[in-house]
């Protein structure tokens, strides 16, 4: 392929930023050498680096990234224009992204002039929240407010996943992690052997905590048995479901546990390379993870010979650029590979054809946090994290035994008497006050026709306007649809239009019928989980809450 590049030249600063990702430019001319033919996966990191340096992706930077990585400019433009946080037009170096999503709008979110509205930033326990991005020689991103309330269950007994965080562990110290029992699980894994680890995870009946609740042990076993090589391990840390922030709390405050858990997963499934794909909106998690990777490497816990076991494994951080859909596992692969985050059709499933077309284990952060606990303590994966926000006195992440009634969680969080509770996030469903005895377990949720999803519990008190969140959820899905398939691309637009007609009272008289049809076509015929659930919460507001009865 002979690239035709845009005429604009990059600035020296942009060149330097992109070279830092792509490596030094070859002296014999990059277009002749084609030395980077397999570097497309660096496209998103290169565009991000250019933007962090000068504040936006200029024509010159886009062209230079294409030249260095051998990507056609039209393709790179397609990628750059896909991600909400990449700007293709010049703007100030210092930008404020103000969350206007479900939890923040309950706390009076307000976008000042010059600031950008943002979908959920995953800071719901400290709502209203914002993210400040500052481009320059020393680029920075700052989550605002910088500190949230302390962990609500600090000091409580019986915590597993939150144990070290509740004890106030230093998240930047490997020694501190080891002092709290860290890396005992890896030692146990080596004793058990790969098959033994998989058996233990299967026996624990651990189900994925990202939303789909697939049995983790079965996933691992499927990848371990694949003849195709290499195998990849991916941690899905693109937590973007509105109202969800548990994975952020885990990564920010206990990052070594994720490193250890992924090392164990890699050992069990035969992976030498792992990726942690974290959304761009979590800068503190990026820093804490990079630090943890570096310390683990220095201590021989990542690298060619992990802890003297003879197994090679290393980790790489990949950062998104503002796209909810990239939390869908196949869209996440596309994003890592340097493409638009457009989900792939399944089958084939990632355990057979995943990242770079190879067998891939994809696990959510919380799912992986369960693994060391299972190996050390044995037994079942019996707890689950919930992200509580909205009209409650003590918002935050709670760890509860599966099966605990929702009412108990609301009492712990000092909830006001609710008019409705959004369970599972924008892709979840609204519950009525008479449904608070629901047991928070996968089975009970399924029986009730709802989903725990990513563990969102968002409380609306008796004075809350329930039309507002329904319209916001519709807007969210319209914004976040990748645009690939017709049911979701156009369906989310028609859904929002019909809801606005209902909300304004200017109805055509058939909106409820239209919405029911849209729910069916999106659920039945969309490519991915985003489209398939884009009408769930809306439908529950209509059917369960009777918002427009």
């Amino acid at each position: 392929m002979d690239l035709r590049l845009p005429p604009a030249e990059p600035s020296d600063a942009e060149r330097e930023a992109i070279d830092a990702i792509a490596g030094p430019a070859p002296e014999n001319g990059f277009r002749v050498a084609h030395g980077n033919r397999h570097s497309r996966h660096l496209l998103l990191p290169a565009l991000r680096a250019a933007q962090r340096r000068v504040g936006f992706v200029s024509e010159g930077a886009l062209g230079y990234a294409c030249a260095r990585l051998d990507v056609p400019p039209a393709d790179a433009y397609g990628v750059a224009s896909f991600y909400a946080l990449l700007a293709l037009e010049e703007r100030p170096a210092d930008v404020l992204h103000v969350c206007t999503d479900l939890a923040c709008r309950l706390q009076g979110a307000n976008v000042p002039e010059g600031a950008h509205p943002s979908p959920c930033l995953g800071l719901c326990e400290r709502a209203p929240a914002a993210l400040r991005t500052i481009a320059g020689e020393e680029p920075r991103e700052i989550q605002l407010p910088q500190n949230g309330p302390p962990l609500p269950q600090a000091g409580a007994d019986g915590l597993r996943l939150l144990r070290r965080i509740a004890a106030g562990i230093d998240p930047e110290s490997l020694d501190a992690y080891r002092a709290q029992g860290g890396y005992a699980a890896l030692a146990r894994a080596v004793e058990l052997g790969a098959d033994g680890v998989i058996q233990a995870v299967k026996d624990s009946e651990l189900l994925g905590r990202g939303g789909a609740a697939f049995p983790t042990g079965r996933k691992w076993e499927a990848v371990a048995g694949q003849p195709a090589q290499p195998h990849y391990l991916v941690c899905n840390a693109d937590e973007s479901e509105p109202g969800t922030f548990k994975d952020r709390v885990l990564m920010e405050n206990d990052p070594f546990a994720l490193v250890e858990a992924m090392t164990i997963a890699a050992f069990a499934t035969g992976c030498a390379h792992g990726y942690v794909y974290v959304r761009a909106e979590y800068p503190l998690a990026h820093a804490r993870l990079e630090n943890a990777f570096a310390q683990a490497r220095a201590a021989g816990l990542l690298g060619d010979d992990v802890a003297g076991t003879g197994h090679a494994f290393d980790l790489e951080l990949r950062i998104g650029a503002g796209a909810y859909v990239c939390g869908e596992e196949t869209a996440l692969f596309q994003s890592i590979e340097g493409y638009r985050g457009e989900p792939r059709n399944k089958p084939p499933f990632p355990v057979e054809v995943g990242l770079f077309g190879k067998p891939t284990v994809v696990n959510n952060v919380e799912t992986l946090f369960n693994v060391p606990e299972i190996l050390v303590d044995g037994g079942a994966a019996g707890t689950r994290l919930f992200c509580v926000s909205g009209h409650v006195g003590r918002p935050g992440v709670y760890e509860l035994e599966l099966g605990t009634p929702l009412r108990t969680l609301l009492e712990l969080a000092e909830s006001r008497p609710p008019k409705a509770v959004l369970l599972g996030g924008a892709a979840g469903s609204f519950l009525r006050p008479d449904q608070l005895d629901l047991e928070l377990s996968f089975e009970a949720a399924r029986a009730a026709g709802v989903s725990l999803g990513s563990g969102v519990v968002l409380v609306y008190d008796e004075n809350a306007d329930l039309v507002d969140p329904v319209l916001r959820i519709a807007e969210f899905f319209r914004d976040e649809s990748c645009g690939q398939c017709v049911p979701c691309r156009v369906g989310t637009v028609r859904q929002e239009e019909a809801l606005h007609r209902l909300a304004s009272g200017r109805t055509n008289g058939d909106e409820l019928e239209v919405l029911a049809d849209l729910e069916q076509v999106m659920r039945d015929a969309s490519i991915c989980g985003l489209g398939q659930t884009a009408a769930s919460a809306v439908a529950s507001a209509i059917e369960n809450l009777k918002v427009w009865a």
Binding site: M1, P6, P73, A74, Y77, G483, P487, R489, R501
Partner: protein
């Protein structure tokens, strides 16, 4: 190796690797498709070909889903009909389908009512792009089937002049930074025009005749010949109206071209019409 499955209660056996759509065709079960083409890798994005497979939570795209032994497929269940109808209503309400003959036929077949979303329903309407002498891009007619992107890129031409840009309802076909075609990598092979199912991409001659109201497909004669320019020997089908060539295509099933041509074969016909004295 062959695979046996049932479709609408009929048993059919197809080669391993065949799709459900292949099996439907073998049984002569008509299945609507828009983004599918025999010469392109299925992208399964239009979702109009969905069918119901017993045991599957959602409907599946027949164009890309491989037939499996023992699969029980339904192509005319209420769920299938509803989804197909809705897909057509969603497209018909947002895109100008007036020259998309297949889509119009499916809309009638499925009794789809695109107008049901009201007069204020958002559309993809945008100005026609006339920026070169060979073909015109009218993206108000674009259903985003990805065929042109595939034909320009990996499946055929390997030029990569266009891609899908933006996202959601704003997703659209674009050159880099939306530059005009002459500033892009386009080589004017017109293979994108050849695969476009809706008239969003159309030769300039056809565009001009349509604008003038003199395009008359019913009166056109199709003449097969061999391209005179080089030794490859591509088959050409000349579309002739009133003694003049108005369009050139190549048969999809031709084993040399698979429907593709280069700029000379596709657009280099004007010299044949330079008559003495004119």
């Amino acid at each position: 190796m062959s695979v046996e499955l049932t479709i609408d209660g009929l048993t059919v056996s197809v080669d391993e690797g065949s799709t459900i759509l292949d099996a439907c065709r073998k049984l002569e079960i008509s299945t609507p498709t828009l983004c599918y083409a025999d010469t392109l890798t299925p992208v399964n994005v239009c979702r109009v070909c969905v069918v119901e497979v017993e045991g599957s939570r959602t409907l599946v795209p027949s164009c890309s889903r491989k037939a499996e032994p023992g699969m029980a497929v339904h192509t005319d269940s209420p769920r299938v009909r509803t989804s197909r109808r809705l897909v057509l209503e969603l497209l018909g309400s947002s895109v100008d389908l007036s020259r998309a003959d297949d889509a119009l036929r499916f809309i009638a077949d499925y009794d789809a009512k695109p107008e049901r979303f009201g007069a204020d329903a958002a559309t993809v309407a945008k100005p026609v792009k006339v920026d070169n002498e060979l073909y015109v891009r009218d993206y108000s007619r674009c259903i985003l089937c990805y065929k042109c992107v595939e034909a320009c890129g990996e499946d055929h031409q390997n030029t990569f002049a266009i891609a899908v840009a933006g996202r959601g309802f704003g997703a659209h076909i674009s050159t880099e930074l939306d530059v005009e075609l002459p500033e892009s990598a386009c080589v004017y092979c017109g293979n994108c025009v050849a695969v476009c199912p809706t008239g969003a991409l159309v030769g300039k001659t056809e565009f001009d005749l349509r604008e003038a109201g003199t395009w008359n497909e019913a009166e056109q004669e199709q003449v097969d010949t061999i391209c005179p320019y080089c030794g490859v020997g591509c088959n050409l089908t000349l579309h002739v109206q009133d003694g003049s060539i108005v369009k050139v295509t190549s048969p999809d099933d031709h084993d040399v071209t698979r429907g593709n041509l280069c700029v000379k074969g596709r657009f280099g016909y004007e010299f044949t019409q330079n008559r003495p004295g004119t």
